[in-house]
Amino acid sequence: MRNNILYGLGAAVILLLVRDINLIAGFPQEASQGAIFKIIFFHVPMAITAMLCSSVALIASVMFLITRNFKYDAVAVAVTEVGLAFLLGNLVTGSIWARIIWGVWWAWDVRLTSALVCWLLYAGYLMLRRAIEEPTQRAVFAACFSIFAFIDVPIVYLSIRLFRTQHPGPVFFTSNGSFPPDWTAAIFGPLGTLMALMMLATVLTVIRLSQEDSQRELDSLRRMAHAM
């Protein structure tokens, strides 16, 4: 049953992505930046998905600390890992975009840099998990670190914004219509790329969750072998 839903969702994601890519290919080029601007249709939703993942990770970590139910711990890892993959996609597309617009691969601008620091923080989370063997301790320590990382991210953003302001301001939701409404819909609409990527993230998270189940089975088998 669960697998069928998963396959269905996966198929829906693929269909949705095909539709969106078709739609986006049909859009005219943006006036000042040309074709490369279209990377925004994936660059931005990837960042938003990653941010959402870190929020879910925070909630799951707090819930784990309150309930001590390992389901939440599994959710926290799964979602963090998927979020890291998406954030990496965001970083790479951002870097390629920067090469065209600014002429450098890495511009050290506010958002790119905070995303990188954020990536390093959560990569640290995964490394911490790998280093701790005892499952309960692993889950508790990781949850605490996840909360720390989540608190840190806005402060990092604030500090880097103080440091330099070079990135073009946010182009959505502003009235100067450089970003047409049907373009906005292609990202944020109910069938837009954001929805597609979020569904993709969900599918990946669910798969990762079942792996975490196996991991816990493995842990308990190890412990049993150790006890015998």
Binding site: L65, V117, L120, L121, G124, M127, L128, A131, I132, E133, T136, Q137, V140, F141, C144, F145, I147, F148, A149, I151, D152, I155, V156, L158, S159, I160, L162, F163
Partner: protein, 226 residues
């Protein structure tokens, strides 16, 4: 016994044990010295541009040297299972953590204060012109550094590869502190006082210290007892 008196007892214990052996503090200072010398090869120490970035160098040195002290902090409790006895004692995890943080803080401040004149001589920087403002930055920045470091030291205490994991966890989290301290120190090293344009950085440092002091005092009990 009050919360702060308990923390003080822990601080005194840690400082006394450290001063007897001087393991961490010697290693930390020697390390700071070595990095200072190495940096002089990377950047010509007599050029003006080097003086401009010297504030940044200084904080990198402090962050590196600090890790050595922080690594020892909870590791000191390991050999004889002392952490068990401390957790069994009727003091809160927060007091234990605060006491250890303060001990690390004082040790790191000592290393920093000794490194500063050495740095001034090597790089021909007149660091005393804005002495008290520099001390303010040092006090705020170092507290942020020790706080995050001590918390991560508690997280990594009984894992393999502790020495590698601690910097991996702390440095990304420390970006705001290091950036703020570097900016402020660079201005002060250039002989300028902290003007209104630099005040946001001070606020950022103070805010970071406050937020993470609160967060770690709340979370540390969970980390220590599970």
């Amino acid at each position: 016994m009050g919360f702060f008196r308990q923390a003080l007892v822990i601080t005194v214990k840690d400082l006394r044990a450290e001063i007897r052996t001087k393991e961490a503090i010697n290693a930390s200072f020697a390390f700071a010295l070595v990095i200072l010398v190495l940096f002089s090869f990377a950047f010509d120490p007599l050029e003006d541009t080097t003086r401009d970035i010297s504030g940044g160098l200084l904080w990198i040195v402090f962050a590196f040297a600090g890790t050595l002290i922080l690594n020892r902090s909870f590791a000191r409790e390991l050999p004889n299972d002392c952490l068990d006895a401390l957790i069994a004692a009727p003091i809160s995890g927060a007091a234990l953590f605060l006491g250890k943080s303060v001990a690390n803080y004082l040790l790191l401040l000592a290393v920093e204060l000794v490194s500063l004149p050495v740095f001034g001589i090597f790089y021909n920087v007149r660091w005393t012109t804005q002495f008290w403002q520099l001390m303010l930055v040092l006090v705020l920045g170092t507290w942020g550094l020790t706080l995050i470091g001590t918390f991560c030291s508690a997280l990594t205490v009984n894992i393999r590869l502790r020495e590698v994991m601690l910097p991996m966890l702390t440095y990304p989290a420390l970006v705001p502190v290091l950036m703020g301290s570097m900016q402020l120190t660079m201005t002060l090293m250039a002989g300028k006082p902290i003007g209104p344009d630099m005040v946001p950085w001070l606020k950022l440092l103070a805010g970071f210290d406050l937020v993470f002091t609160a967060a770690s005092l709340v979370l540390v009990e969970i980390v220590l007892v599970g």
